[in-house]
Structure formats: structure tokens, C-alpha cells
């Protein structure tokens, strides 16, 4: 039965070994689900969040996975709108990762809010000025889009496509994929931006606050660009990892190099803008009565963090990825992509956690926060969920169409 589900012409590890691989993830997911149950039944007192650190690990996770999941929309945009056909090799994987990231993020958000049953109020009483309303609307829509985009990948399963209606539906849906890609791109632009705006609009948090360009703070644009920059890198990274773990070549080397090049070119653009933004911020923060240097006076969050974010994890990978010679070398290519991803992971950390750790009032103290096991378990559950969905997708669905051709040669 298992064999009947695996795509023809691709070989997968024997079922027992696959079971062994997913077992730890299933366990991790199980513990996480228990933690989620605790949070939903007993309330968020199960977490270590508080009135001062009211956003914690989960919001950080949401911002990060959504940035990393940007590969889905950006690859779709390049493939369907800009017709970069070579990206067809990774689009299914990108869609799957996007689906995992967004569904995971929405699931965690549902736990993160105090009254999930009232979440629909956002649609009923929307405050259009709120970045979170924008995020909620766009993410909900985009998750639906991603589900619709993921459906064809599932329907292409060897067994499922034997059912005529499934096959036809997939075929017809695929014909309209360009519409969904366009909608997805539109939505992604907005919610990636809104996630940046989420903190950028916080006039009460001068560390995160940025002046508005038009109606959005600069972080709105920085988040879009950084997500677009790092999305391809993350696809590159996951493809390479999958390839390493499954010990199979899944895409032609040019595909990875292409992803790296796309990532690098946007990243350098992002780093320039981020630098300009930082300089403007340093100058504007005085006007709010704060000293920019004061924000970095705490040892844990010294200026080194700024250097690490912009130079080591920004400029360096951007330059590396733009070099042809580096891209030819898989190790260097993967390393650069890792650095780029780490840069965004750090950026989201700085925006979410550092912002809240810093004092605003004259009698405030620098705050520390460490998540409770329930928060960590929920966090890990999302990772386990992603691993499981991706593992099953990789095993039973065609994530890398080139794999078969590469195998048959």
C-alpha cells in the first residue's frame, strides 16, 4: 500500500525507516498538543508572558516562520508572473513550505490570543488602521490561497489522481494558478509588510517605531523586501537539507544557484535600505526623548547585535550570494543562504523581543523573559508539524519534479 502511494520512478526509504524518522516528530507534536491543550483550557497563565512581555516566543515564531515562508509567494510570483520556468523545480516544495509556515503560524496565533472563539470579531468589527487587522485579513486569505495551491500537489499523488474527478479538478485548478499566484503575491506584500508595520507603528516603543512613508512605517517595506530576499534562501536551504537527508539529488544544481542569486540580489538591496533606515532612526529617536545609544547599553543587547544583524548576517551573505564563484560551490552557497536566513531570524528577534525588553518609562527596568515549557513545546510542535507535513509530502507527493528525471538519467 505504502509503495502504491509513492510516485513512480522515485525511490523512498523503506517504511520502517520512515516510521523511525517520524517517530520523534510525532512525540514532539504530541507534547506540543498537550501544551496547547493546557493553554486553551487553563488560559495563557501557562505561559511566561506577562503584561510587560505581552508578546513572547509565539509572536516571534509567527514573524519568523512567515518571513521564511515567503519563499512560497515569491517563487510563485517569479514562476507564474515573471515566468522564470526553472523555478518549477522547487515550486511544489515552496508551496508546501509556505503552507506549513502559514498554517503553523495561524495555529499558534489561535493559541496566543486569549479568546480564540472571538477571533472572528476582527472580521466583524475590523479596525482598518490596525496592522494586526491587515495581518489577520491577509494571512487568513493567503492561508486559503496556500491551501488551494497545495491541493494540486496533493491531488497529484499517484493514487489520488486515479480518481477522475480529482485529476480533472487538479488540472483545471492548475490552469488558474496564475490568478492565485497573483493574489498570493498581493496578499503577501501586504501582510509581510504589515508584520513589519506591527512593530513599526508602535509610537510608544521608540526602539521599534519608524516614521511613516505614505501610510506605512519603513519597517513595512523592509519586512517585505527582507522576506522576499530570504524566502528563496530558505527554499534553497530546505531543498539542500532534504537532499542531504534523503541522499538524493532533487534539483539540478543550477536551480539552487539561481535561488541563491535571486536571494543575494534582493538581500543587498535590503541591507542598503536597512542601513539607511537605521541611520534615520538614530537621528529621529532623539526627537522622541530617547537616546539611541541607551537602547544598546545593556550588555545582552549591545551594539554588537546591530553589527551582527546588518553586516555579518546581512552584507556578508548578500555579497557571497552575488558572487558566481561562491554559488558554484554548494557548501559556500548553502552557508551563505544559512547566514541570510539567520539574519532575518535575528532581525525578527530584535524587533519583537528586544523591543519589549527595553524600558520606556523613567522608572522601568530592563526586562528579561524566558518562555515556559508550554510555550517552548508549542513552538516545537509547529516545527514537528512542519517536519511531518514535509516528510509525508516528500514521501508521497511530487515536491521536486526534476528528481525523477535526474534519477532516470
Amino acid at each position: 500500500m505504502d509503495k502504491q502511494l509513492i510516485s513512480r520512478g522515485t525511490s523512498r526509504t523503506p517504511l520502517p525507516r520512515f516510521m523511525l524518522w517520524i517517530l520523534p516528530w510525532v512525540a514532539m507534536l504530541g507534547i506540543g498538543l498537550y501544551a496547547i491543550f493546557l493553554c486553551l483550557s487553563k488560559g495563557l497563565n501557562q505561559t511566561n508572558m506577562d503584561n510587560r512581555f505581552s508578546f513572547g516566543l509565539w509572536i516571534y515564531l509567527d514573524l519568523t516562520v512567515i518571513a521564511l515562508g515567503a519563499g512560497a509567494f515569491f517563487t510563485g510570483f517569479l514562476l507564474y508572473i515573471l515566468k522564470r520556468k526553472e523555478l518549477k523545480a522547487v515550486i511544489n516544495s515552496a508551496v508546501t513550505i509556505g503552507f506549513i509556515c502559514y498554517s503553523g503560524a495561524v495555529a499558534v496565533l489561535a493559541v496566543d490570543v486569549g479568546q480564540p472563539l472571538r477571533a472572528w470579531f476582527t472580521f466583524w468589527h475590523p479596525n482598518v488602521h490596525s496592522m494586526l487587522a491587515e495581518v489577520t485579513f491577509c494571512i487568513t486569505c493567503y492561508l486559503i490561497v496556500l491551501i488551494i495551491e497545495y491541493i494540486p500537489v496533493v491531488l497529484k499523488n499517484r493514487r489520488i489522481k486515479n480518481v477522475p474527478s480529482m485529476l480533472v479538478f487538479e488540472f483545471e485548478l492548475h490552469k488558474l494558478m496564475v490568478v492565485l499566484a497573483a493574489v498570493g503575491t498581493f496578499l503577501s506584500f501586504f501582510h509581510q509588510g504589515s508584520l513589519g508595520g506591527l512593530y513599526g507603528v508602535l509610537v510608544g516603543r521608540p526602539f521599534a517605531f519608524r516614521p511613516a512613508l505614505g501610510i506605512w512605517p519603513t519597517t513595512f517595506f523592509l519586512f517585505i523586501i527582507s522576506a522576499a530576499a530570504v524566502g528563496p534562501s530558505f527554499i534553497l536551504l530546505t531543498t539542500w537539507l532534504t537532499s542531504k537527508i534523503s541522499r538524493k539529488q532533487l534539483v539540478k544544481p543550477e536551480v539552487l544557484q539561481d535561488l541563491g542569486k535571486i536571494s543575494g540580489s534582493i538581500l543587498i538591496f535590503y541591507i542598503i535600505l536597512k542601513t539607511v533606515d537605521t541611520i534615520f532612526w538614530i537621528n529621529s529617536v532623539h526627537a522622541l526623548g530617547f537616546s539611541p545609544a541607551g537602547f544598546f547599553r545593556i550588555q545582552e543587547f549591545g551594539t554588537w547585535i546591530l553589527f551582527l544583524e546588518i553586516v555579518v548576517l546581512g552584507l556578508v551573505p548578500a555579497i557571497l550570494l552575488l558572487s558566481n564563484r561562491v554559488r558554484q560551490n554548494t557548501t559556500l552557497l548553502v552557508l551563505s543562504a544559512t547566514l541570510a536566513c539567520a539574519g532575518i531570524v535575528l532581525n525578527r528577534y530584535v524587533m519583537t523581543i528586544q523591543t519589549l525588553a527595553l524600558p520606556t518609562l523613567p522608572f522601568d527596568q530592563f526586562l528579561s523573559y524566558s518562555p515556559s515549557w508550554q510555550e517552548v513545546a508549542t513552538f516545537l510542535a509547529v516545527i514537528a508539524y512542519g517536519m511531518l507535513v514535509y516528510s509525508f509530502s516528500f514521501r508521497y507527493l511530487t515536491l521536486f519534479p526534476q528528481e525523477r528525471e535526474i534519477q532516470s538519467v
Partner: protein, 276 residues
Amino acid sequence: MLSLVFAYAWSTGNIIFLGAFFTIVAIIVATLVTTTLRTLRALRANAAEAIRWKSDFHDMPSSSRTCRHVFTGEFERRVCNNEFNCNGCEQHALLLAQQNAAAMPVNAQMNPGFALPLDRLYSRGHTWTKQNTDGTYVIGVDDFAARLIGTPSAIDLPAIGTRLSINGSAWNFKKGETSVRMLSPLEGEVVETSDGAQGWYLRVQPLSADVKTGHLLRGAEVGPWIQREFDRLQNYLADPKIGLTLPDGGMPVRDFTAEFPEKDWDAIYSTLLLEP
């Protein structure tokens, strides 16, 4: 959301934001509805098999999609992107107009030893068809497919009256756990089925007088084609460590499947019999 909602105001922000949101929702819904309607229409029009071929065709590796004009030597390399629908292929029409295909001699050397009589037309899925005197067509499998599969463990034939479409499923062989779909070379209604003892499996009544057979291989194309297919097969069967060592000095055996039981026959059938 609505003016009925408490404290709602028709402000510019609300109109733009909610307008954009509802447009997006409408587009998503419209896409889904369109897809569903089209699906229903296609299913009602019995287009499922044709769509399956279209869908499968693009999932096949390019080595399976070699243009027939490569076999005749007109091209060094050419990959078909037209679902092997030569009838609708401009390049095909152009080439046909330029030359007389029938004039080309059969290159006997190209045939590695399969019995492929030239009195019939061959589909790329290794089925052949031949017109009976009564106007019906019989459909069978060619020697390559017969030797490839050997003796099937079961044959799943369509019911009498089933309508076949070009490159749609004709019938299925079962070989062990693997199911092999055989492609129909032409369009028509099944009027008789057979267990293959007489060399054919289906007898088909064409649906119209204008029977489309232009896409089928014939004459001089058959030899080079089958040579190419055999090369691909040998590629699969080759031991990656010691290279090509076929029994009988590279001559086809009666039952390849039985001869090389350790091979991934599911993948080989899939590639050679065009079912990705």
C-alpha cells in the same frame, strides 16, 4: 464590516481596505467556482481521459517525449510539447508537406530483434491498431511491451460500449503488485474484448468516419523508435557497477520482467509505457 454593525462608519479607510479585502475574497471564490464548474463540465463531457493524458504528458521526462521526427533523422533533438498530438502540430504538417515519408526505407538494422509488422500503426504507448474489413479496429500490444511485461498476472479490460479516447486508458495489465495502463491508440467504442490469445485485446468501432490516426507511428519511424525504446530499457537494466551485460548478447528475451526481478519495474513500466 457592514453598516449594520455597531459603530461602523463609511470612512475612506474602511472602503479601501474592505473593498480590497472583498475583491480578494471574490477572486478566490471565483477561481474555486470556475474550477469546479469546469471540472463538472469536463467530467460530463467524458474528457477525463483526455485530460489525464494532457496532465501526465507534462509530468513525463523529456526522454519519453522525443518527437517522431527525431526517429526519421530530421532532428537531432526535439522534445514534443504537444501531447504527441501530431494532428495539431504545425511542425509535423510542415515536415509532411516537405517529404514523402513512405519513400523512406525501413532500416532493418535499427530493429534490435522485436517483431513489429509494418501493416499496422503504433502508438507511443506500445499499443498498435489495425483496421478490420468491417471498419472496426483491433488494438493490441506490440512485441516490445509484450516482452517487457511478459505474462501479466491479470488483465483488466474495459466493458463493452466503453468509449476510448486517443491516448486515454484502454485497459490495464496487472503484473505482480504493479498495474500497467495501456494507452488507446485511437478514439472509439469498445465492441469486443479478448484475452490476447489472438494477438489483440480490443475491437473498437470508431465514433466517426474520420478516424484520426495521424499521430500514430508507422513505416520507417517504427524501427528507430523501438531501437530508442530498447536503449532506454537497457539503460534501466544495466548494472551500474559493471555496465551493460544483457543475456543473448543484447537480444530481447521473452520476459524481461521475469529475467530481472530485482529491478524497479514499476518505474520502468511508468517510463516506457508513458504512465508517470
